[in-house]
C-alpha cells in the first residue's frame, strides 16, 4: 500500500505545482482575493471551453497547426536545398551574401505582416508568409553551418574510396550534418508556432491567435485565459512530439563531445 502511494507520489511530483496553481486560481477569485471579473476562476474558464465545444476548439487548433506546417514545409523545401547548394558547391557565394542574409533574417517577421498585407492582400497569404519568414532563416543558417562543419577527413576518406559526388553527399555529408539540420528545423518550427499566434491576432478569421484576439476585443475575459491555456498546451505537445521525433530519427550520433581532461 505504502509502496503504491510512493510510486504515485513520484509519478506526480512534477505536476504538484501545476495542481497548486490551478487550486489557487480557482480559490483566489472565489474568496475575493482578486476581482473575479478580471481573473475568472479556473472552473469558469473550463466551462466556457465546454460551451465553446471541444469540436470547435479542435478545429481552431487544426487550422492553426495547418498554417504552421504548411508555412514550415514550404520554408524547409526551399531552405534545405539552398543551404546545401550554398554550403557544398558555392561556399564563396555563401560568404559573400552572408551580411545580406543576416540583414534579411533580422527583420522581425511580425512587423512584416502589414507589408505583406499591402503586397499580397489580407487573408491566408500574409500568415503563411510570416511563418515562412520566421522558419526559413534558422533552417538555412543551420544547414549551411552543419554542412560546412562536416569533418573534411571523412569526405577525403570517402573520396579515396572512389565515392562519387552524389554518394559522398548522401552517405557522408548529409548524415554528418543531420543533427545540426534537425536542430535548425526544430528551432524554425518552434519559432513559427511562436509567430503564428502573433500573426493570427493581426489578421485572421479563425485559429488560436484569432480566438484570443477576438476574445480580447469582445471582452470575453474567460476566453482569453482559455486561449492562453490552449496555446500553452499545444506548444508543450508540439515540443513533446519534436523531442520524440528527434530521439527516434537522430539515433546514431549519440556520443557526447569528447572529454578532454
Amino acid at each position: 500500500m505504502l509502496k503504491a502511494l510512493k510510486s504515485i507520489h513520484s509519478a506526480l511530483t512534477s505536476y504538484y505545482l501545476i495542481f497548486l496553481l490551478i487550486l489557487i486560481w480557482e480559490l483566489a477569485p472565489r474568496l475575493g482575493w482578486v476581482n473575479a471579473v478580471f481573473v475568472p476562476p479556473f472552473s469558469r474558464v473550463v466551462k466556457v471551453g465546454a460551451d465553446l465545444g471541444v469540436g470547435n476548439i479542435l478545429l481552431y487548433i487544426a487550422i492553426s497547426l495547418k498554417r504552421v506546417f504548411v508555412g514550415f514545409f514550404i520554408a524547409t523545401l526551399l531552405a534545405l536545398p539552398l543551404g546545401f547548394i550554398l554550403a557544398g558547391a558555392l561556399p564563396w557565394l555563401a560568404r559573400f551574401i552572408r551580411p545580406f542574409t543576416v540583414f534579411l533574417s533580422q527583420i522581425p517577421p511580425y512587423i512584416l505582416f502589414p507589408i505583406f498585407v499591402i503586397i499580397i492582400g489580407i487573408g491566408e497569404g500574409g500568415i503563411y508568409t510570416v511563418i515562412f519568414w520566421s522558419s526559413f532563416w534558422p533552417i538555412l543558417f543551420t544547414s549551411i553551418a552543419g554542412i560546412s562543419q562536416v569533418d573534411p577527413l571523412l569526405v577525403r576518406a570517402a573520396k579515396a574510396m572512389n565515392a562519387s559526388r552524389i554518394e559522398i553527399f548522401f552517405k557522408v555529408v548529409l548524415p554528418a550534418a543531420f543533427p545540426a539540420i534537425m536542430t535548425g528545423m526544430r528551432s524554425g518550427l518552434t519559432m513559427s508556432f511562436f509567430m503564428l499566434i502573433g500573426a493570427e491576432s493581426m489578421g485572421a478569421d479563425k485559429g488560436l491567435g484569432w480566438l484570443i484576439h477576438n476574445a480580447q476585443s469582445m471582452g470575453f475575459i474567460e476566453r482569453i485565459y482559455l486561449g492562453a491555456l490552449i496555446v500553452a498546451a499545444v506548444g508543450a505537445l508540439l515540443n513533446f512530439v519534436l523531442d520524440f521525433l528527434e530521439e527516434s530519427i537522430v539515433d546514431w550520433k549519440e556520443a557526447p563531445e569528447e572529454q578532454t581532461v
Partner: protein, 258 residues
Amino acid sequence: MSSFWSDVKKFVYGSIPIILFFIFWEVGAGMVPKGVISPPTEVFQSLWAAATSELLFRQTAISLGRVGMGFALSILVAIPLGFLLGTFFQSAEKLLLPFFRMCEKLNPFAIIPIFMIFFGIGTAEKVAVVFWATLWPLLFNTMAGARAVDYSLIRAARSMGATRRELFLKVILPYALPNIFIGVELAAQLSFFMIIASEVIGASTGLGWYYISATTKYQLPLMYGIVLYITVLSILINLFFGRLKKHFLVWKEAVQIH
C-alpha cells in the same frame, strides 16, 4: 595595419550585396504599381525627416527604456534562481521544472492580453511582457550552466577547504558564465523583438506604435523606413551581445542545453 585593411576589405565586400539589394529595390519599386512599395530614396527621405523631428529618437528611447527595465528585472530574478536550482537545490528541480517548461510554452503573444487586463497598455505591461519573454531562456541557460560544473572541480575546491561562498564565486560562477551569456544573448534578441510586437498590439508610445501609426496613416515610405530602422537596431543589439558573449567564451565552450 594589414588587419585594418582586411577589415575594410571585408566591410566593402559585405556591403556589396546590400547595395545591390537597394538598387534592386529602387528599380523594382519603379515597376510595380504606385502605392505598394516605396523606393528607398523616398524611404530614406522620410526616415531623415522623422529623425530630424526628434520623434523617431524619442520613441526609440521609450522602447529601449522599456526593454532595459524588463531585461534588468528578468536578469535579477532568473540568474539567482537558476543558480539556486542548478546547484544547491537540484532536488527541487523535479518539482519545479515541468511547471517552468509549461510557463515557457505560454506564448508571450497569448499572454499580452492577460497582462493588459492587469497592467493596462502603459509601460508596466510592456515591462511585464519583456520580463516574461526573457525570463525563461535566461533561467534555463543559467541552470544548464550551473549544473554542468565539473564535479571534480567542486570536490577539489572543497578538499582545499573552500567555503561555500568561495566555491560559488571562484568555481561555479566562472564555470557557468559562458552559458549565462548565451542566455543573455538570446534574451536580448527576444526582448527587443517582443517590445516591438507588444507596442504594435497596443500602445500609445514607442517604436512599435510609431510603426503601426505610420501604417494606419498609410505613410508608406515612413513605414518601410521604420522597418529598416528596427532591423538595423536589432542587428546592432545582436552584435553587441555577440561581442559580449565572445568576451566571456574565451576560455571555455558552453554546454548545450537540451
